[in-house]
Amino acid sequence: MRPPPFEDMLVSLDASARIPAGMVSETREVMALGRRFAREVVRPRALELDARLHEDPDHLDWEFVKTANEWGLYSMWLPKFFGGGGYNFMSMAPFIEEVSSQCLAMANLIGVHYLGVGTLSASWNAQIMRRVFSEVAQGEKTGEPCLISLAITEPSAGTDAEEVDLMDRGEMSCRITRCDGGYKVNGTKIFISNGHLSTWHMTMGFEDLSRPSETAIMLAVKTGTPGFSFGRIERKMGQKACPASVLVFDDCFVPDELVALDHRQFSGLSRSHRQTTMQVIDYVVSTSRAGVGAFGAGAARGAYEEALAFASETEVDGTLLVNHEWAQCLLAEMYKNVSLARLTYMETNYANALYGFFRLMGSAPFFYSMKYAPRPLLDRLSGLFGSGWATRMFRQTHLENQLESEAHRTSGWASLCKFTATDLAVKNGHLALELMGQAGLRHDRRVEKHLRDAKLLQIYEGTNQLNRLNLFKCMAGADCGQAEPFCDCPAA
């Protein structure tokens, strides 16, 4: 067995020499903004909103979405040439951690929008990116939020939808049929985070349900399109303010100009349709799972901070709890969990910067030219970036030039991050409750909410079991020729 490659082992060391120094100061600025937003907007409303949703699970918190919109948070990380704020994508994770440390649901109301952004971006379809992202930016000017969701999970396919090996054996049911000038979509998507609050829905479906990985299509569907409707909002244990929606497609016509990726667009690529589908999924999850890692770090931190505050003000057996040795060790354990979760999302983002999503945007020439180019010049370039040329350039850079080993490195690290950080978040919720006893059970002490909210992190963006298998496929077992991921031996 060969030792692990340097590039797998020490991603951050490798990245430190190549990442533009300007990203550090920019990330510091973004983190400060995250802290201010968490302090001024999120913490004061988190409990009240959670309780309200316990009473009325159908409530949609437009008030928060509008506030986040006013703060510019829905376009902050979109490229400037598409009208966005142009902040580097890596800086989003520390921002998300700050918000999550106060309320995971509200963090999702922001972060899940970027799951939609990331999915559309992973198609590298510059024309649709320009159209949709411009609407998001415009929405901030008009005060009418324009969010993007990702519609992938189906009633009979959760885990299966995120891995081509499983997809073909699964029970995918969202059918896409070719018709004049576009496609018709039929099917139901479930557990779609932010569904009811979103204007655009990046939707995955399949032309041939018996060969989904070879016929996958990505469409941008706008709320209000005939044949598209919202179903129920799920009754969740936590993350209540972030609605999990059912989306219904009934002969929903989507014109060609909103087809982000289909077989016709795959034809110019050297990878097969199936391979490209997996590559696109890997692009999406390599960033989204780092984002979930940041959610996890935030939830773990929130639990830790509340536990520390409690221990600092409560006497147990006549001594402040924080001065009991066992409590100090437990709090140190919780602090470690937060730090480990943070390290995993940063390491994953370094991998994305060197080998994945942020490869182009994170390069020094691109970063500085976008950061310092005057807005009018970028506005003039917008047309260029929204053209077929830009789509070809993006796809050449990100799809064609990405090696298989690079895709595996980003996807593997993302899975490692996802299950590590979210397991640690749940762990810290448990530990905080054990430390606080009766006080921790109370909603007004916030810790029980952190635990309830954190549990979902182990499930979405691929269950932690799927992510362990993906890590095995991409890195842990990659050199083991005999290994066959996603097969499993038959039951005796």
Partner: protein
Amino acid sequence: MLTIGDKGKKLLADAATDFANKALLPDREENDKFPFGPFFDQALETALELGFLHLALPESMEGMGPGITDLCVVCDRLCQVDASMAGILFTNSFAQRLLLAAGEAKTLEEAAGQDSARKVLLAAPVFNNPGEIRHLARAEKDNKNRWRLTGGVPYVVLGGVAARAVLPAAVEGSKGFGWYVVNANSPQIVKSATVFSLGLHACPAVDMTIDGTPATPLAGPEDGADLFRQVADAMQLVAGAMAVGLMKGSFREALDYSKKRRQGGKRIVEWSELTRILAEMSIHARMAEAALDRACQAADHGEHSWEHLAAAVSLTACSLACEATTDGIQVLGGVGYMKEYGQEKRFRDAKQIQALLGLAPMRRIKYLRRMLR
């Protein structure tokens, strides 16, 4: 709980299961909405009719005698379906046992003889060890030499439902504390809105602010810690039984679902990692159940050091239940996180139950310190 070879316990267990399936299961999601939905008074009255509110009482008060096993059997069965009612039984029994331990039969008989559940029930702050975290009222005698309580006691379970409450209080300047019975509906007690909690929503608690309400002391004003320890030694087995019930309920629902749900072309129970998780859940549940059964026998027979065994079993069962119910959601994936299934409630309830009788880490430390004495 194992009831093999004991007809009486088998009958009791079957009655509890029947009650859980008929009176609790159909409205489980609805009942869990409390305080944003109605309280399940009807189910509580049925529990009274079945004698579940008297299980901890002596036979002379229509109870099952001094043993703890019967209460454990019932709570195990209830928790497989819905733990809130078991939380009520726990609280009521804890308070009843405090009265019994203090020899306060008169108040107990009076409460037990009432004809409606709310009048029978006793409230108590069962999630705190008052010797550990001193959430105590102030006890003082008035000019007629009657005890009165003043101050605040948080998280009094059933405080908004029960007719009487058993509260801890200390005389000014004292390092100890005592237990006192008060009229929970006394005009000198102001109750908060129901405390919105992690789990056991239908076993609600309130914070009490007290202004000189008359109180009946249980034993002496410094005897509270001894009484608590005496009662908690046995009641921790009931917490363990609740944990075991949750583990079994969680495993059963996970197994049933995994036989139906397909993923990657086959039933998820056929994927070996999931099989391993299910196996782990089952192994832990069985192990905890067997250990609990043994610990109950030891307690009922007053075997040497039964309290240590009870603590070991209770702490382990509660901890395993938190793990098992976490996995119980995971097996179901997204739907396990939704209210329509029982798994998310079991997850919350297990964590809540782990907090019974005080901080779990302190209970562990005290377990060893007592052994070293």
